[in-house]
Symmetry: C3
Subunit: 121 residues, 3 copies
Amino acid sequence: MPHLHLEYTANLTDLNADVALMRLNNALVGSGQFGAEFDIKSRAVKVETFKVGTAMTERGFVHVKLALLSGRSPQIKQQLSESLLAVVKELCAWPAGVEVQLCVEILDIDRESYAKAAIGV
Amino acid sequence: MPHLHLEYTANLTDLNADVALMRLNNALVGSGQFGAEFDIKSRAVKVETFKVGTAMTERGFVHVKLALLSGRSPQIKQQLSESLLAVVKELCAWPAGVEVQLCVEILDIDRESYAKAAIGV
Amino acid sequence: MPHLHLEYTANLTDLNADVALMRLNNALVGSGQFGAEFDIKSRAVKVETFKVGTAMTERGFVHVKLALLSGRSPQIKQQLSESLLAVVKELCAWPAGVEVQLCVEILDIDRESYAKAAIGV
């Protein structure tokens, strides 16, 4: 906890996913909401097959999902999503002529049934 | 909002993912539930590594997840899942000798902490 | 139902994803919680782009998500997550010098709006 998933469409060719994850993780550490930087587990997936709406316009999106153990207040969740969205907006030069939607979603992980272990720590 | 994820196993070789997303998006627009076709963000992933059950029979699946901002009624959600399932059933000729399961799941996105922005729109 | 997603980082080079899914599915069948082995739909994804925390240490993770139709008790969910975590711990020899986190999460699928069909069964 937390788990972050970054999806971005393949037409956003200037987006560097490694840099993106580093910046997003830094924002999470900077939020002061997480005890250990070590706990932040983030991954990025380039989406090769996608469709936004039904029109023929060229479009793309970036979608960040942050999954947190249940129990945080709505205010904290809003702050986290806004701070992640601020990072996403600055991730790269967005391609001209592409309509890009940027979204951040916060979801809960059921705390009682979450199990974990660490190897080599 | 909404976000649609389509997963399909690699043994469903006649499934055209681009066509599938177009048909699913059209069904969502046709439902009348979404203000702007632009809002529908869909992606497809071919699943290369999978296992259905424990038997040696050849099997596969198609799984559609539709994530909606929270607040819709159970009836609306059922209608949406049934209409998406109807699309999925007709996506392709299913391979002979493969047991294929088709599933549609509707889930809520927490409305209060959802953040978004648009570039170039 | 149930759906299992296994994610593992690409630096866990000894992890055989096909074997992993077979063992996880066997554990689910062995739990006695599912009527038909056929119902268990599992997939694995190797995560190529990831970042754990902000330090430069080499790290990785395995994340299992098990999605169940809503209605099971917290106790059953805890038992399932613990039994899946026990399988994950034994999946492979973990690479020396890599800090690896193993996580299992159980989540609910909304039962009322879940739709499914079977082909060729």
